[in-house]
């Protein structure tokens, strides 16, 4: 197990180097350098442009800029945003908890609803429940997030006033963030009603962000269960007279879990970086929108740094998924 873990961690290094080169190069492939955009719609004179390029060090040879960047990263310095003039790492650490909190809530929703739905759909294959679940999953997967989010806002926030429109918490609650997780910080603040406000603000965005993972997980669970339920050992267990709950819950489910866990791991990765649309609609201050805006501004440091850090996080998530395999499936343990 330990050697497996060490081997995987060792593999991180060349992957990270590759990602750093790709992110560094990719943003520079885009035409128009960041300096030209500093004056907005006012044109910039060539002399001024040269002066600023020099000030930012963009006129140095590219390999030198890259090495400088890597050297900085190894010392924990991911550079400075060209728009806000603040450290990329500080900005990431400020914004990431919001993305993480929303992603976790969305995943929780997707798992808590998706897995049982998939299991029942598999058990009651062909029934109305199965049809409904499969159909709903298809619809959920196909809906454009922007439209879905706006629709929910118009109906539940605008029409019924059951939920707030956007943001993480009511503006009347003002406290310094401790962890960055609004659910925790609102409890720590001790302000009356803050926690409830934080919860109510999480409802719609979690639903919107969790819809696609929910659909994917439900379908994956269903097909994995169907495959497992057709196996010989399940027939054996049933013929042995084991209660159906034990057959399904222990034997079938545990084996069906492996592809489902893979799916969950992949979805988590997607959520981390792909929450841009949800963040925009719900005014959720996370890293997704931050990075997309940075591309438009050609904010090199933010795009490079953001990509690198998110890549590390996704790789760590995948590592956890692989370790989870070993727990669920003893055969992996023996061979790995």
């Amino acid at each position: 197990m330990l050697s497996f873990l060490l081997k995987r961690i060792a593999l991180l290094v060349p992957t990270l180097i590759g990602i750093s080169i790709v992110s560094f190069g990719l943003i520079r492939v885009l035409s128009v350098d960041p300096v030209s955009l500093l004056s907005g719609e006012h044109a910039m004179s060539p002399e001024r442009h040269a002066e600023l390029m020099h000030q930012f060090g963009f006129d140095r040879p590219i390999w030198l800029q890259y090495l400088d960047y890597v050297f900085g990263v190894l010392h924990g310095d991911f550079g400075v945003s060209i728009t806000t003039k603040t450290s990329v790492l500080t900005q990431f650490l400020t914004l990431f908890p919001a993305t993480l909190e929303l992603s976790l809530c969305a995943m929780l929703l997707a798992i808590v609803l998706g897995i049982p739905a998939g299991i029942f759909a598999a058990i009651k294959r062909g029934s109305w429940f199965d049809q409904l679940a499969t159909g709903t999953a298809l619809v959920g997967y196909s809906m454009p997030i922007f439209w879905w989010g706006l629709l929910l806002i118009i109906v539940f926030s605008g029409g019924l006033h059951w939920t707030p429109v956007s943001g993480r918490i009511d503006l009347q609650y003002f406290f310094k963030p401790v962890t960055g997780f609004m659910l925790i910080d609102s409890l720590l603040s001790g302000q009356k009603g803050a926690f409830q406000s934080a919860v109510s603000h999480l409802i719609l965005p979690s639903i919107v962000l969790g819809t696609i993972p929910l659909a994917v997980i439900a379908r994956q669970t269903r097909s994995a269960m169907l495959e497992v339920l057709g196996e010989d050992y399940i027939r054996t267990a049933r013929s042995k007279g084991l209660p159906p709950r034990r057959v399904v819950g222990l034997h079938a489910f545990r084996n069906a879990l492996i592809p489902v866990v893979t799916t969950i791991g992949l979805q988590v990765g997607l959520l981390m970086a792909g929450a841009v649309l949800t963040e925009t609609i719900f005014s959720w201050p996370g890293v997704g929108k931050w990075m997309i805006d940075a591309i438009g501004h050609r904010d090199y440091a933010v795009v490079q740094g953001g990509l690198l850090i998110i890549a590390v996080i996704i790789m760590l998530v995948n590592l956890c998924v692989d370790l989870l395999y070993a727990v669920i499936n003893p055969r992996v343990r023996v061979h790995g």
Binding site: L30, S31, V32, S36, L37, L38, S39, G40, E41, H42, A43, M44, S45, R48, L52, Q55, F56, V80, I82, T83, T84, K85, T86, Q91, T94, L95, L150, I153, I154, S157, G158, H161, P164, V165, S166, G167, R168, L171, Q172, F174, P177, T280, I281, F282, S283, P285, G286, K289, W290, G296, H297, R298
Partner: protein
Amino acid sequence: MRLIKTLLAASALAVVLAGGAYAKTFVYCSEGSPEGFDPAAYTSGTTFDASSRPVYNRLVEFDYGKTTVHPGLAEKWEISADGLTYTFHLRKGVKFQTTDFFTPTRELNADDVVFSFMRQLDKTNPWYSYTNGISYDYFVSMSLPTELKSVDKVDDLTVKFTLNTPDAAFLADLGMDFASIVSKEYADSLAKSGNQAQMNQKPLGTGPFIFVDYQQDAAIRFKANPDYWDGAPKIDDLVFAITPDASVRAQKLKAGECDLIPYPNPADIADLQSDADLKLDSQEGLNVAYLAYNTLMPPFDKVEVRKALNMSFNRDAMIQAVYGGNATPAVNPIPPTMWGYNKDTKNEEYNPDKAKQMLADAGVKNLTMKIWAMPVSRPYNPNGHRLAELMQADLAKVGVTANIDTMDWAQYLKQLGSKTRDGAMQAGWTGDNGDPDNFLAVLLGCDAVPSNNYSNWCDKDFNDLILKAKTTSDQAERAKLYEQAEQIFKDQAPWFTIAHSKVIVPMKKTVTGFVMDPLGYHRFEKVDKTE
């Protein structure tokens, strides 16, 4: 008797407590995050709304609802006869804000004014580039490094600006956001503690609101400045709730979560108008939207071709479809609200048949051209792609094949400024300082080819007129010169002038005192909320 006394005392106490506990909070749902809080370091209105407008003041300020200036931190001023020396007399007793991160020990004086400008002009000033990436781009864009010779202290309350060349619009420049007056004392203390970067994170000025906190991409909080020299704001707390999506902003306003929103979607305006709890202020924007022909590339180098194409466009239909009717058809490059607007110039008539004939007469057959659609929504052009589709359809009716193209905003800006650009590009402009020079010279002057003069159009007569107007001090005379220039512009037609959009600001009916700033900024020092 004792019971009555006790009851009276108790109710008096209750009233006092209730009055004290009730703080008026105004929530503005802004359209984006500020880039930073040093107004001299940026050029975007979103940033100015959150920094220079609430926290700072300038020597002169733009009149509410107009583009002329009135005294701000300067009480009065003299301009020398040759137009090269401006002497400002500062208002006495103006206090810088006391915040929880700095307490000033003195009032505003000439040192602050000198510092505010010299840090941008003098490359050797320690604040010229005080933290990673600070650059004073607006100062440079307004040509001040070449125009401004020096800023000197005469005495504690008098400052002298010396120019290299006369510029009639200089006074208006001083009302702009990069010209905000910052505290030298604060700057010195930050430099001393090795924390210069804070100048861009925690602003401190003389303005109506004191900066309290910024939660990145979420909310900005200000509180009223009780010592504001022009009268303390009526509201106690000002909160910017950052809400990037326009439709969500409309929903928030309707749900009562905001008091006022900027830049609504044209599609949402009818819905907002029908809401009994809301009202919509509207004002002619100080802007223009146009289609720039590249006058260096055939066949657009021929006046008759440009005029023929102009004749083929149905401007009114564009205003209905794209602007929802909330725009004025544009004739001149400057909007009708600006002085110097020529009321007698006319657009070409909308006449596709005549246009077709004119093109044929000019020897243009089966023309294929590109129309570049603006990729982002701008105050002067809410939907570039839709606009391009209408243009394409109009051109098809006169036998011209138009292909619509676009690119991301950064590349689009670059393409606009290219001499070899292929096709006509949608463009626009919002005035910086309310002076016609800021439109006519910046967008159509010979010096501006190819930078901001997207048509690459250089006409000697036009150019002579605007250069003369720049150095003339009498406004009536300047107005005449600009009117003449506008006639030349219409005769030569380097653009198809589309519209001046109306700026619409929806707000709760309970909001009073909000006056729209002609330059499009959102100022809250005079707002109040009735119950």
